[in-house]
């Protein structure tokens, strides 16, 4: 997969941009607050259908405009030329919400239908929080990735989330004597059926991720250290290992019955994938608790690189790599090693404030650009 052309109109701090790109490594450098991240965000928007930074889509429209447009032309080895256009219209004057229209090859599409149209992997400085942050952060990592890969996962997850919300409200009502226990059964049945769908896909993804992450971590650190990822449910039979949908159905069903009393006391759903977490081990130790800053950073990178390998297999071509300022925190050798590892694999688009510190790999197809105040100028390398 390759981005060939990016056009922005009234997007963030870009009044108008028309940028042609080709294969290779593309480095966008510039001072702070010039529009480097905005550029990657725009590409991500056409690939995934939403911004990685905000859900308030009105923020993406230039302050002095009512309508923003992003058009990306992609070239796929398997599917030929693909043009994705996202138009955003501000709702109400000065509003932070927007109406969004997505077109793929001139045909209107829903956001969910973009799944797999133009696969990208985005590396953010904030990825460190996947390793260090709360369990919700790791669930969000799984859910964002899986929704971008599969429309059915996104659908099952939304249904599941809705069931949990409804069920929590009902449990509170029952606790306060407002609702009849017979009303719980339909929500139990749906919690189990949608929960098992979500669990099955997550478990398979984690297993696939695991199959590549060990090697990836070792490669990034030039060491023999391995990274392993496990999916953890703290409810139901702790001995259960089978990860088929039927197995998850049985396990959820038993746990829902077992926890009924406690759920009623607390007025909240205590069983299911909305309670789960990932454990990430490096050399057998939980990197969240025991990892150094550098190890945690490397684990986050290894997760993204593993994601890249998985997507590459799934879509039978390499996704585009978008790296937002993530290299500055690595030492010079690791930086060079990472770039040397990634550059031959795919089209890479990265941002940095300091191009000299990158340690650009020699003999690669490198293109440099300077970003200043919403404009982009090619530099000669």
């Amino acid at each position: 997969m390759e981005l060939r052309r990016l056009q922005l109109t009234h997007y963030r701090n870009y009044p108008a941009l028309d940028l042609a790109v080709g294969a290779g490594l593309h480095v966008f450098s510039g001072a702070n607050a010039q529009g480097k991240t905005n550029l990657l965000e725009a590409v991500y928007l056409t690939a995934v259908g939403k911004s990685p930074r905000t859900s308030q889509e009105g923020e993406l429209i230039a302050w002095d405009a009512e309508l923003a447009r992003v058009t990306a032309e992609y070239a796929s080895a398997r599917r030929g030329a693909i043009t994705v256009e996202v138009a955003l219209g501000r709702r109400g004057a000065g509003g932070t919400s927007a109406q969004k229209r997505i077109r793929v090859n001139d045909t209107a599409r829903g956001q969910a239908e973009l799944a797999g149209v133009a696969p990208v992997v985005l590396f953010l400085v904030d990825d460190l929080e996947i390793i260090r942050g709360e369990p919700a952060r790791r669930r969000a990592f799984l859910d964002t990735d899986l929704s971008a890969m599969s429309r059915t996962y996104g659908w099952a997850l939304r249904q599941y989330t809705r069931v949990v919300e409804q069920r929590n409200r009902l449990l509170k009502g029952m606790r306060d004597g407002e609702a009849d226990p017979a009303e719980l059964e339909p929500w139990n049945a749906q919690l189990v059926s949608f929960g098992a769908r979500v669990l099955e896909v997550r478990a398979r993804f984690v297993a696939d991720l695991n199959a590549v992450s060990g090697e990836t971590y070792a490669g990034l650190t030039a060491s023999a250290q391995a990274m392993t990822i496990t999916y953890r449910c703290d409810w139901g039979d702790p001995e259960a290992e089978e990860t088929t949908r039927d197995a998850f159905t049985a396990r959820l069903d038993a746990a829902v019955r077992e926890m009924a009393g406690e759920e009623l006391r607390r007025g909240s759903s205590l069983v299911g994938p909305h309670r789960d977490d990932l454990t990430i081990l490096v050399d057998g130790k939980d990197v969240r608790q025991f990892g150094s800053q550098g190890e945690q950073r490397t684990a986050a990178l290894a997760l993204r690189v593993s994601e890249f390998s998985l997507l590459q297999r799934l879509f039978a071509e390499p996704p585009i790599l978008l790296l937002d300022d993530i290299l500055s925190e690595l030492d010079r050798t690791r930086r060079a090693a990472l770039l040397a590892h990634l550059a031959p694999l795919a089209q890479v688009i990265l941002t940095t404030t300091d191009v000299d510190a990158l340690g650009l790999p020699p003999h690669t197809d490198v293109h440099l650009y300077h970003v200043a105040d919403g404009t982009v100028a090619p530099l000669t390398a």
Binding site: G110, Q111, R151, G154, V163, Q166, E183, E185, Q190
Partner: protein
């Protein structure tokens, strides 16, 4: 600053409160009504008032009707052994417009949704069970939408009705109303596959 004559503004405001009508359409409709011949506007006003006073819910099925019992409930040529349960009158109309169905209906007037404070006691569930008592109905078709609320309502009713020895079936309507239109096609196919039956 007052933009319009006061009565015109009142009309625009009233129209704008109708579902599916934005400020621009409200303005266009109001101006249209003002410019149309007086009897056209009177006809509309009378139609609204007449409908309000003359139409009420059928005492058996909660369809909208001019008579105590609606024409569907009173039609002896229909199969009253077959009863389809729908969330609201719009769903009933959709099924009637499709034309093939010859059974009776029961309108719930909503779906179970704890977040909206709607439980079975807020729907016409008690009346449904009362209708099933005399043994006329042999099959109940649950035709609520395939949303989590529609499914919860169907599951709840199925548990109540099955013990009465009545056959309970479930249909999945094509598009989930208020659901994700984005997903509809693929999901409809997926669910149809999963809901397949042996022949």
């Amino acid at each position: 600053m007052q933009l319009y004559a006061r009565p015109l503004q009142r009309l625009i405001d009233a129209l704008e409160r109708l579902p599916g009508i934005g400020p621009k359409s409200a303005q266009r409709l109001a101006l249209h009504l003002l410019r149309a011949p007086a009897d056209k506007a009177e006809e509309l006003a009378r139609a609204i008032l007449d409908a309000r006073t003359a139409v009420h819910q059928c005492e058996a099925c909660f369809n909208l009707s001019e008579t105590a019992r609606c024409p569907i409930c009173d039609d002896s040529s229909r199969e009253h052994t077959l009863l389809t349960v729908v969330a609201d009158v719009r769903d009933l109309m959709a099924l009637e417009n499709a034309g093939d169905y010859r059974g009776a209906y029961h309108v719930l007037d909503g779906l179970i949704s704890p977040m909206d404070g709607i439980g079975p006691e807020n729907l016409h569930v008690r009346e449904l069970l009362a209708r099933l008592e005399d043994g006329t109905v042999r099959e109940v078709v649950l035709a609520t939408n395939p949303t989590v609320e529609g499914d919860a309502t169907a599951l709840y009713l199925a548990r109540l009705i099955k013990p009465l020895g009545i056959t309970v079936t479930r249909i999945a309507l094509g598009l989930p109303v208020g659901g994700d239109l984005d997903y509809a096609d693929q999901m409809t196919i997926l669910r149809a596959m999963e809901g397949r039956t042996t022949m």
